[in-house]
Symmetry: C2
Amino acid sequence: MKLAIYGYGNLGRGVECAAAKAQDAELVGVFTRRDPTSVKTHSGVPVYPAETIGSFKDKIDVLIICGGSATDLPAMTPALAKDFNVLDSFDTHASIPEHFEKVDAAAKESGHIALISAGWDPGMFSLNRLYASAVLPDGQDYTFWGRGVSQGHSDAIRRIDGVKDARQYTVPVPEALERVRRGENPTLTVREKHTRECYVVAEEGADLARIEREIKEMPHYFDEYDTTVTFITQEELDRDHRGIPHGGEVIRTGSTGWNGENKHVIEYSLKLDSNPEFTASVLVAFARALDRKFRRGETGCRTVFDIAPADLSPLSPEELRAKML
Amino acid sequence: MKLAIYGYGNLGRGVECAAAKAQDAELVGVFTRRDPTSVKTHSGVPVYPAETIGSFKDKIDVLIICGGSATDLPAMTPALAKDFNVLDSFDTHASIPEHFEKVDAAAKESGHIALISAGWDPGMFSLNRLYASAVLPDGQDYTFWGRGVSQGHSDAIRRIDGVKDARQYTVPVPEALERVRRGENPTLTVREKHTRECYVVAEEGADLARIEREIKEMPHYFDEYDTTVTFITQEELDRDHRGIPHGGEVIRTGSTGWNGENKHVIEYSLKLDSNPEFTASVLVAFARALDRKFRRGETGCRTVFDIAPADLSPLSPEELRAKML
């Protein structure tokens, strides 16, 4: 399958590397809205201006769109579905139904196939929520995130006056995790599930007390959490907080038996050194499935829920049954 | 969907209970090779002689076959696929390709659909091996089982002369689990991964030293493991080892990045109070998917790898996207 990348940030660079590891994938090019002469790919794959993508119709099997969920993807994915099979990692959970409808309409009209919201949450975590709830209908779901870097929360801190740089970690509360794992089925508030750790580089002479207060009181982002703010130097941030790790757990506890007497715990856990590279690896696996479905004549929008697992693997159905079942 | 159960042991009783919890399922009956008057179902659903099942054609959407993998299922599943959509939990991993071919041929010829090897291993564990390897091609898989009761190993002990009753637990070696979780990618022998704990009730006057030796030296079952044998009374066995718990972990550790510099750990874990009831719950979810696929005109044999997750859930695609993605 011939892949191309639209948008070359952390995620796009991850897709470039993941595509190189997939023996059945060939990377046609990278499309960027920046000046292409300013962008150098790691693999040497050519870089093209985003606006020239129209001339690549029929040269790309699946276009992986690596834009942001806030403003890029809601416009890009439906627009590009007019000419390409497209795949994105749209992660604004509340807006997924709306995004799906737009992409579905565009893909159906143009006779292409699309898949939105692939990654780990939404993505692998969603799959595990679905499998676990289908198997244990009499139960309850819990999703914990972290310990990991939240890009959105880090950005929110950076927008505060007097802040030069920042890194925010989302951290699950260990006691909450343990109660869930023990099958207590607790009702947990937002505050009881996660804490937020902020490492902030302030500009010289900035009012640190005000910055700390503005962070802790920021609606939605921090006000419902126990938040700690630690001021550090740019050198410390660059040295100790360079990585983009993340991860988390999807846990479902439930019961079976006529009186619910038998308890079961299903837990799916991810520990990721690099959030964007893992997300990119998920995208490339789903690109394979999308390419196969398109060759079978399918069109319209899909999600990870609609993909039979066998379509994700380069192995044949016979090999999968012999080796993995 | 109208379900029926063929075989009413621990697994069949689990399916009866799981079907009662599925709001879209109706249980038509239980079929048994025993004298039906000697079998009383918990829910009061009628019991029929196995040989009368032919008269239930067109009255059952999916027949869940709850027989043993050693001798029952290899014959039953292909034979019953001639008249019904069938589902089993065939778990002899090495014979899955052969079983698949037979069931596929029978189902295709009769225009029915079938699914083999649903449960947790094969089943949910297989799905997790597949997803994880598709997403992290540059990595390694580990499956650990336990702590849990192995029915096959307990049966093997019971066949030894002088043994009245026995219960065998498969136990993962904690150090091995920890090394895998740390991402060391160790090469582990059979002995390094699991130990086997045997609780044995001997007949009066039996030679305990001989029984212990025969267990520990039994080829395939015990000779490759560190095995402990503890003799207990029937009362102790009935009191302390009545349950049928099981579980385990599927772990894949892998790396991304141009030099494999970023490590990732994907772990799926099950802690099950009742092995047969959990397996039964998986079967009922896959029965739902099978019924839907048959209504779409599909025939032939499938495995868990061929089922799009959305088909397992009673929720609509719209609800799934809004609530679980």
